[in-house]
């Protein structure tokens, strides 16, 4: 599994690059590279469904993000005088990783999942649902209710975007404009 480590390190470097890049466009492009690495990792980990979805979703979100950055010359602001949040970020990361390191021995060893419920899907998924793709049988039959929720999240987001981009939010009131943002 050397390639896995290789890909992960690549992703970490890519994301650091994405965050430190001087202009926004290259930051977004670096994010695209990270997404591609993730997609390959999914393939290596034998998750082709996820890899396909990740790939197309990545393309779409990159397109959306580029629409946001292409606008004009967007000079990256220097991050001076912004020490406190950085320190907070580093502190948070260190604490999280320390606790995580302590808890890893409790997790099952990598490559040997417990498979309690999943064993049932593997054994009788084909007979019960008739779908050869077990992932499809899980998302659309065993856990179809989740998928309804997922579709609804997407609908909600679309409605939300449409609501947010309305040019006029309030009707012009007949009394003086409110000035409350004190």
């Amino acid at each position: 599994m050397v390639e896995l480590y290789f890909l992960l390190v690549f992703m970490i470097i890519g994301s650091v690059g994405a965050l430190q890049a001087k202009d926004l466009l290259s930051s977004v492009v670096a994010l695209g590279a990270v997404g591609l690495g993730l997609c390959l990792t999914f393939l290596i980990l034998k998750a082709p469904d996820v890899a396909i979805t990740q790939l197309v979703v990545e393309i779409l979100s990159i397109i959306i993000l580029i629409r946001a950055t292409l606008r004009k010359d967007l000079p990256e602001v220097p991050t001076g005088g912004w020490m406190f949040p950085s320190a907070m970020g580093v502190g948070f990361a260190v604490i999280l990783l320390l606790v995580a390191l302590k808890c890893f021995p409790d997790l099952p060893v990598f490559g040997e999942p417990k498979l309690r419920v999943a064993q049932h899907y593997l054994d009788s998924g084909l007979q019960e649902t008739g779908a050869a793709n077990l992932v499809a049988s899980v998302i659309l039959d065993y856990r179809a209710y989740d998928t309804l929720g997922e579709a609804t999240v997407l609908l909600t987001a679309v409605m939300g975007v449409l609501a947010v981009v309305r040019k006029v939010g309030r009707k012009k009131p007949d009394q003086p404009e409110e000035q409350t943002d004190a």
Binding site: I12, L134, G160
Partner: protein, 111 residues
Amino acid sequence: MIYLLCLVLFCVGIYGLLSKRNIIKMIVGLIIAEHAVNLFFILVAYRRNGRAPILAPDVAITQMVDPLPQALVLTAIVIGLATTALLVALAIRIYGKYGTYDIAKIRELRG
């Protein structure tokens, strides 16, 4: 430990979110953290020398990876996309109103 590297990726995302003051950079950090969580889920599902959970008429079922987390990650990816779309829409609107992506300047501009 592969898990640790994955969490490092998560921390990089969160760190970016906390320390950057550009709205787009914050969104980028958030997306990276999302990637890390999804990856962690798939890592947990992996079986050594496993096969993809797709059956074929002539192959017996042996050593398949856990299909359940894959299904969940599919859901999580779409949720992430939905959130990203909304965030970007908000960001573009903020840019339209304030003329900058810099969150510190936006705070100064406020009322």
